[in-house]
């Protein structure tokens, strides 16, 4: 996840991106894009807001790339920019929670004719995630979903590791009841 360009080919790619090669930059961020989409979408609840935040973040990262010296892991560095962009979007009121829930409900209705326990469990967890404050949502996504350490998550969010831990406890307490439907449906 926190893959940093280490091979000669990776370092070359980084240098080309730092020199102003958009294609090199896009190749550099591509392995992180799905996880960043997950973070942004779950933070913002809407595909449009997700794309807005990620586009802003990627452009900021491209502009800042010449200053990236490799002291931090590249992924952590990129996550921090995306997390800030998501917080900016949230502060601009870009979140549209109702739309997200309706979209997922429609997807469920279009599927199996009868009750779909797996889909219902997904909705429960998504709704529970949606309902917790953004600062709790971000830590549980970074630590439990993306596998970051507390220090890495703290670096991304600009808070101490202790703050990550306390927020994580609260987030997990809020989300675990929504896991009741998980583990009962065959994978």
């Amino acid at each position: 996840m926190t893959r940093t360009p280490t091979t000669p080919a990776d370092r070359r790619l980084l240098q080309r991106a730092q020199a102003g090669d958009p294609a090199a930059f896009e190749t550099l961020i591509e392995p992180h894009d799905r996880q960043l989409r997950r973070l942004a979408f779950r933070m913002l609840g809407d595909r449009g807001a997700m794309d807005d935040a990620l586009q802003e973040a990627y452009v900021k990262a491209y502009r800042s790339l010449p200053r990236f010296a490799g002291d931090a892991a590249f992924g952590t560095w990129l996550y921090r920019i995306v997390a800030n962009a998501c917080n900016d979007e949230l502060r601009r009121g870009a979140r549209r929670r109702g739309d997200t829930v309706l979209d997922e409900a429609r997807d469920v209705a279009a599927g199996a004719p009868g009750p779909d326990r797996a889909a219902a469990a997904h909705l429960d967890l998504a709704a529970a995630l949606d309902a917790i404050p953004p600062d709790l949502r971000s830590v549980v996504l970074l630590v439990d979903a993306e596998g970051m350490s507390y220090d890495e998550a703290g670096e991304v969010l600009g808070v101490p590791a202790g703050t990550v831990a306390s927020r994580l406890n609260r987030a997990r307490a809020a989300l675990r009841p929504a896991l009741a439907g998980y583990g009962e449906v065959p994978s």
Partner: protein, 471 residues
Amino acid sequence: MTREEERDERLGAALRGLDVPEHGPDFAANLRARLEQEEPAADADADSAPGAARPRRRRAAVADAPRRRVRIPRLALGGGLATALAVLVAAFLLLTPNDGGRAPGGLGAAPVTAAELGARVGDALARIETLQAVLVVTERPSPDLPLRTTRYRLLRTDAGDERLMQIGGGFDRAYDAFRGVEREAADASNGDQATVTSGLAPGPPDRPLGDLRAQQQLGGVARALRAAGAAPVREVTDGGRPAWRIAVRAEQDVHALAGDTGDRLELTIDQGTGLPLRIRETYRGRLVAERRLQRLRIDAPLPERQFDPSLSGPATELDGGFAQATLQQASARFGYAPLAPGWLPQGFRRAETAIAATTPSPTGAEGLNPPTRDAVSTAYRRGLDTLVVSTRKVDGMKWSDPVALPEGFLVRPQRACFRTGALAGSCGELMVDPRATPHVWAIAGGLVVTVAGDLTQGELERVAGSLAPIG
């Protein structure tokens, strides 16, 4: 992994299993177009080791470059607005080395007219994401008292947040636009208790666009310059920085007869950033007020909790009556379709919407309008510029300008009649007086409609003419 860093693998797997949408169909093309607009650092070398280099400069916006979010640096501003003069704050820029934050790009060729200078100031303000500064206000509490200087710490964001804190104690007010909450700390010198006001609308007519000491300094300067006509622009040096200076005549009001406000403004604009450096307000040559900004930092990260600080001691809790909602929710709640602009000046984006069934404070001059019922207020933002569109039910009552100034100001509204949009066939008033937030208001379809904010006259008229009920 330590016990303290135990990961919830089951929760993590469940979170990773949630659907993640793909990017929209235009995302990749838009991103590539924006990346290609960025200029690489001049001394970057593809064969050199990664290291610090100058940040990339943004090229001038390409008119046909697709963008998911519009943040166009160059704006077409014009028109003839004058500025509010009763309270103006000048920005005196003192950039220190390694100041942090973004250094705005240069402004290109020096402006030759006041209107061009006003456009540059407006352009600079529209690009700012965060602004931090020390605000130095020199003024007389009353005409017979000596000048007094007060220093404030000022923070503003492009999300509409604002913090104004008197250095050394006293006044401290923070506004969180995202939550619609204003917190004002207790002032021991006055014996005032702390106050928390929730349920605030995003702007006029239900609340001003920020603290007067902070708000009108920036947008007000741009408006003053655009209205300064053929007043000459001089190149000067201010605090060692190249700047432009212009003197404009200030509109009089009844307070000016007693020397409360000035009849002349001298504006100094920093050439490097396009931001106001200083404003000196004089009345018949005697200094009335001077405003400056020091230690200005643009687009630097802000410390957390600047706009929702903790308050010590008991606080009076007030409710402005508004709650955040969507336009669709407003329509379902109030039984009428709120109005939204079909056209906005380039760069503006919809921010928050708030609705209120009723509010504790009537609108209008001295609060003499009928009680507000079923109000919808939506903010649109671009940098530090804000535009607010509001509607509320007429209820068969007689209304006057909801955004009107208090008594004592010699205002001269213009009649405005509309031929397009939801206001078609109605006439209202357009206010571009120096002392007021630019605005237009009218009654149409059983609604009192206002459009108010940092726009030129032409922009106001066009926005108002484009209003339509949401679909």
